[in-house]
Symmetry: C2
Subunit: 361 residues, 2 copies
């Protein structure tokens, strides 16, 4: 997608062998990039959320292994790099999926051939991510078009967190559907949840504004009220992990929106490339680990001060105890459909869309 | 309640005839009071939320009429002051209730007697508010005690916004129940919703810390996840208006917590003094006006900067469209009970608790 008219991916290789990423902690206030030159750089970028979004974390992890192999392609270092990268964020499954895929390619190779093979495999995963998201966005755009065909009004979509192109290598997941509907002249308006504590909704608003998609920012508390008053035609989110039966782990607060959608007859969809599906887990509520993040994310809010300089304010004192679970799980019964690169399935129909995968679990 | 060991109400008369209030916009960062000397001062305090909380707004409105009468006790000025005060915040019904009550006392009186009568009536309303909240808190504490008797664990209560003593003249509504349970040695822990956009949860955390009640601050997105994992025994909120059939208008986002409570078998209670009940409306969703507030409340976040000075950061640019509905309505079907000064009623049982009121509508 374009930033100020210039086409960008959210991650790319540089001529000098680094992996360059958009530093998402500085968005939407500044557009800056950052070169990752070691596995430690990659882990730091993932942990601090300079790089975020389940699909992008997966690709970054793959490149992390490649950077590790360039330094030391031995078995012990491969195992260690895999373990450390995999632990950098526990909820998104794309990371484990990408790491396992690269390791499966590398393990049979003699160490001297591993670095090149890892770079190649990471690049393949990145390119595939783009194609998966393009494909799933087409299916999602069809859903939006169908609502418009029925209502003849601008389609009102509510989204939570950022499932845009910067959460992937390109196109995005939920926003891929919205971009493609918009580009096909389907009128769309997006309600953008702020998404406390890290306010990734601001990234979504930034993306939508750059692409010219009409949108309105709301606090996370507002979505239920909007749905009660017929202001939302569908809820469309990404996911960090979807269980085999269709339970959806996504940014904290998604479950509340799914409940409101269900209570008001509003369809609720998660848009996910297949690497986000964890075929080894059925019960997402019991099986998907939920990351607990630092209290500072709740206590401090970042923005711009009056001089337009990046600043943070502390809203709660250190003495105030804080809990900060980063994700929740929306049970499949509240999910209308999962949008994948192969089409849209009811949660219980995911296995039929990916017959080989399900059995492999 | 006490602030730094000194007993305070949230509003009181001064020796020189002003009405002094705690400036709630400066909490929790600074404790400052502000003298209201005219009806315009009162309207400004209500609109800017220096004075907030449905019960306290009602009392402040009554004093606003008293201040107006001291300046000009004529019929036209009475009508005008009533109209302007009533328009200052549309959702909380206590304001209209208190204004109507004072006006009913004043209207039959010759103008020269109105100012004194208005002061007297406003003081009566303030004192009654304290007693209503003390009484309803006792009933709420009984509910908390019953949970503890069953579980023998600290009772986990989730609350939204600030329904504490500063939202009333004293004691609070939801927090009155928590304070009284705590004071009766029932172990209670409170999950405090941040309550974007204005973060009144910080006021709640400040109150609870001052009273020594264990609590944990969470973002508004977290409550559903907590309930899914058995971390909440009951949800306890205040209200700005409750319809005759028990629909609960409260701070935006309350409905989402009620949905999560319902989905997880967690009881959901609203604690309200009877002046919060609007006997003229049955269908709260259709009948209760929802205030839309300024976009700046969403775009800017207040806190302390690194020098511990009050500061705001802008999180979204002016170009980002914002919607800011301040309240939502939780339908009676999601409400386990309404806690009033006369006891706890199922929503449909409210009329039986207040038989005279219902017929009067």
């Amino acid at each position: 997608m374009k930033v100020n008219g210039v086409p960008f991916r959210s991650l790319w290789q540089t001529a000098d062998g680094a992996v360059e990423v958009i530093d998402q902690r500085r968005l939407p206030y500044a557009f800056a990039t950052r070169a990752l030159r070691s596995v430690d750089d990659v882990i730091d970028a993932i942990c601090t959320m300079a790089v975020r979004g389940a699909p992008l974390i997966g690709v970054a992890g793959a490149y992390g292994l490649a950077l590790a192999m360039r330094r030391d392609p031995g078995d012990a270092h491969l195992a260690e790099a895999h373990r450390r990268l995999n632990a950098s964020r526990p909820t998104a499954v794309n990371l484990r999926w990408a790491l396992d895929r690269v390791r499966a390619v590398l393990a049979p190779l003699p160490p001297p051939r591993r670095a090149d093979a890892a770079w190649l495999e990471a690049a393949r995963i990145a390119d595939e991510d783009v194609e998966l998201n393009r494909a799933l966005g087409r299916h999602g755009a069809d859903l939006i078009a169908a609502v418009h065909a029925r209502t003849r009004r601008p389609v009102q979509v509510l989204t939570h967190c950022n499932a845009g192109w910067i959460a992937t290598v390109d196109f995005g997941t939920a926003l891929s559907a919205i971009y493609q509907a918009h580009d096909a002249s389907i009128p769309v308006h997006v309600w953008v949840d702020e998404t406390r504590p890290r306010n990734q909704g601001l990234l979504t608003a930034w993306e939508l504004a750059a692409h010219g998609v009409p949108h309105t920012l709301v606090v996370d508390n507002a979505g239920g009220h909007l749905m009660q008053h017929g202001e939302v035609d569908l809820v469309l989110v990404g996911a960090d992990r979807v269980s085999a039966r269709g339970d959806v782990a996504n940014k904290i607060g998604t479950y509340l929106k799914a409940l409101a959608a269900h209570d008001n007859g509003v369809p609720f969809y998660a848009a996910v490339p297949s690497p986000t599906i964890d075929w080894t887990i059925d019960d997402g509520l019991a099986g998907i680990p939920i990351e607990e993040r630092a209290a500072g994310e709740v206590r401090e809010v970042a923005g711009l001060d009056r001089q337009q300089q990046r600043a943070t304010v502390r809203i709660a004192p250190d003495e105030t105890p804080v809990a900060n679970p980063a994700f929740d799980v929306t049970p499949a019964r509240l999910v209308t459909g999962i949008i994948t690169e192969r089409g849209v399935a009811a949660p219980h129909g995911l296995g039929a869309l990916f017959p080989g995968r399900r059995q492999a679990a």
